[in-house]
Symmetry: C2
Subunit: 393 residues, 2 copies
């Protein structure tokens, strides 16, 4: 069979994380997944979601079962407007940041455009690179975020159309970009005329005070398109998030959203609207932050020990779900096989970069697994690392 | 402000139905909407949806709150597989047929491809025409469906890449394509190598026995991609449907779905899976069919009367939600203003064709409005029609 396909179909590739994970088989019956970048199950507000849903069915608001505007359910947009202190015409609801990013790409990008991003970054950006056959420009990360000198030098040589950035508790490195660099990035966007796509699902999971977003810092709101998702703080299954952008962009995005799926599930929008408007919500967020901060400390304790014993280097995430670890030499794809045999799974750094040649980095998600799995996972990491190193020598 | 946009952004246009409806203002406090192509509110299985949702929260299946595979929630795919008697690797879940159609277009179409469709048809097809700057080929409809001689003659002159068809109770005409023409269309697809996109949301709302779908009739399952939605028989707000296609296509569609929104809300998939597997489901469908058949008869009675008095011609829909009416002369866009002033809204035929020059046709949806609104709507249609005709002369 010779399928009939578009150019895009030939360019699109499987997600890099998935393709690495597809190959991993573990013989162990109780594997520990440091690979899964998901919120911890304990933190899902199950009772509240059930109560909100029942309240919704009982109240039976008009249009509960209907389509809503592609922009989103009006009262939900009002809530977002109040919480984000931005006018309603700057807001569109999405099915989470995956859709937000896809819609923004459809609106902005042509084949072969130049597109900058952090090296390393979430593989969603690489999907766009493949699909649109983009000229990908990876900008190195420093402790305080993207290297702005390298970025500017690069733009001077090759102008870019858009830049993708995860500003807070970045996936995979855990890095948060500083206020100074945020301001400089916006200046660059105005000076060299490109769009910043700000993907910010971890902002509520920062352990310290939040720095203003690039969108908040953008004086004219013309250069930053802001993506927010409730997947990390409520539940991925709700498939709900929003975009903040200049109304000129929101109008276009709304047209693409209408074509793409008419609207985000209005029932899910109503449930989330009720939940984030309820008096329990700040407490629920606080619980999450404390939980992840505790998890981070436990992981840090382990990683300091590994640094002493084996020289591992690691980030010091100021929030979010991830630790980024550099084991200095060897190919971690080899280690992964030993790790899987021992019953622990992580994601290799290669999954987060188009040009990673070092092969010494891994991402550990400390959020998802159960409390009793954490120490077991750490033991298996060390055990498999030692086996790998012994066998390599 | 000079926005940064893709080529697609310049090509995409507002939905034709919306742009006609945007202009309609009615001074009446109780307008009757024959324009709204939605299921009747009375038929939404509210109690069952609430019960299924609560059962779900109580049972708390693992992964209830998580992402699921982009292909869909496994038990839901199993249910679809059993009901459609097709292997699971031919199935992908979508957020309804809007998304199904968009994903298929992304997979199949390049700019300027040739694309055939019924004249008249649902405006979703025209959105694709604009977005991909396609060579649009409109094939006239006969009482038993698309004119196959015209189609074949057209293909001989200009080969097509894909064809969009609503086989049952077509929107807007209510026409159902005959078995003979279905078979011939599939023969043509193999002979001239094009894909048939079969959009079938009304199949459960046929008053008589269902003819096999084009997908069922396709011997090798290589030429038909089948789109199904639960929006018309459960609720649009659930945003759930599915695609049936050859596994070669399903694999590609899954990649696009992953990029587009990761997955359809797993909670909504689980609720619908429970509902359509429950013993009440066949009764609920039967109720819907009976309700719409009764509505059709009431509308038919009115339209026979209008035929006698004013010569109106109308279709005889074998199911679905729509009557297609031809008032023979004048421009119905003018009538719309009188109708809105009288408090009744319909959609002009122009919204369903790229090249409609007659301007004498309208679509009446007999499904959505309340029982007590039906007769009022008919009175206002006649009253406004008479006023229009008197003023024109």
């Amino acid at each position: 069979m010779e399928p009939i396909l578009s150019h895009l179909s030939f360019q699109i590739k499987e997600n890099a994380i998935d393709s690495f994970m597809d190959e991993i088989k573990t013989p162990v019956t109780d594997p520990v997944f440091f690979s899964v970048g998901l919120p911890n199950k304990k933190l899902i507000p199950k009772k509240q979601l059930q109560a909100m849903t029942n309240m919704l069915f009982e109240n039976d608001p008009s249009n509960l079962y209907n389509y809503c505007s592609s922009k989103g359910y009006d009262p939900f947009i009002s809530t977002i407007s109040a919480k984000e202190t931005i006018a309603e015409n700057f807001i569109m609801v999405t099915n989470g940041n995956t859709q937000g990013f896809d819609l923004v790409c459809r609106m902005l990008l042509n084949q072969k455009d130049s597109f900058a991003m952090e090296a390393y970054t979430y593989s969603i950006a690489h999907s766009a690179i493949h699909q649109y056959n983009l000229n990908a420009i990876e900008i190195p990360l420093q402790q305080d975020g993207m290297d702005m000198d390298v970025l500017e030098a690069s733009i001077k040589k090759v102008p870019i159309k858009a830049l993708y950035i995860i500003p807070n508790a970045q996936n995979p490195t855990g890095i948060t970009i500083s206020l100074e660099k945020r301001k400089r990035l916006i200046d660059l966007a105005y000076q060299y005329n490109f769009i910043i796509i700000e993907d910010d699902p971890y902002r509520e999971l920062l352990f310290d005070e939040r720095i203003p977003s690039l969108f908040e810092l953008d004086p004219l709101k013309e250069k930053v398109i802001y993506l927010y998702s409730f997947s990390k703080i409520i539940a991925p299954a709700m498939r709900t998030g929003f975009i903040l952008a200049h109304p000129v962009y929101i109008q276009k995005l709304e047209q693409f959203k209408q074509i793409q799926d008419a609207c985000t599930s209005p029932i899910n929008q109503m449930i989330i609207n009720n939940l984030i408007s309820s008096y329990v919500w700040p407490d629920l967020l606080e619980q999450q932050k404390n939980f992840y901060e505790n998890r981070k400390k436990i992981t840090q304790h382990f990683l300091i020990n590994m640094h002493k014993k084996y020289g591992w280097l690691s980030s010091d995430p100021a929030g979010g779900l991830f630790y980024w670890v550099n084991v200095l030499d060897g190919d971690v794809l080899e280690w992964m096989k030993y790790a899987a045999a021992s019953g622990v799974i992580f994601v290799p750094g290669k999954a987060f970069s188009l040009n990673d040649v070092t092969n010494t980095k891994i991402r550990i998600c400390y959020a998802y697994c159960n409390d009793d799995e954490m120490m077991k996972g750490f033991e298996r990491l060390e055990e498999s690392f030692v086996k790998w190193k012994n066998n390599v020598q």
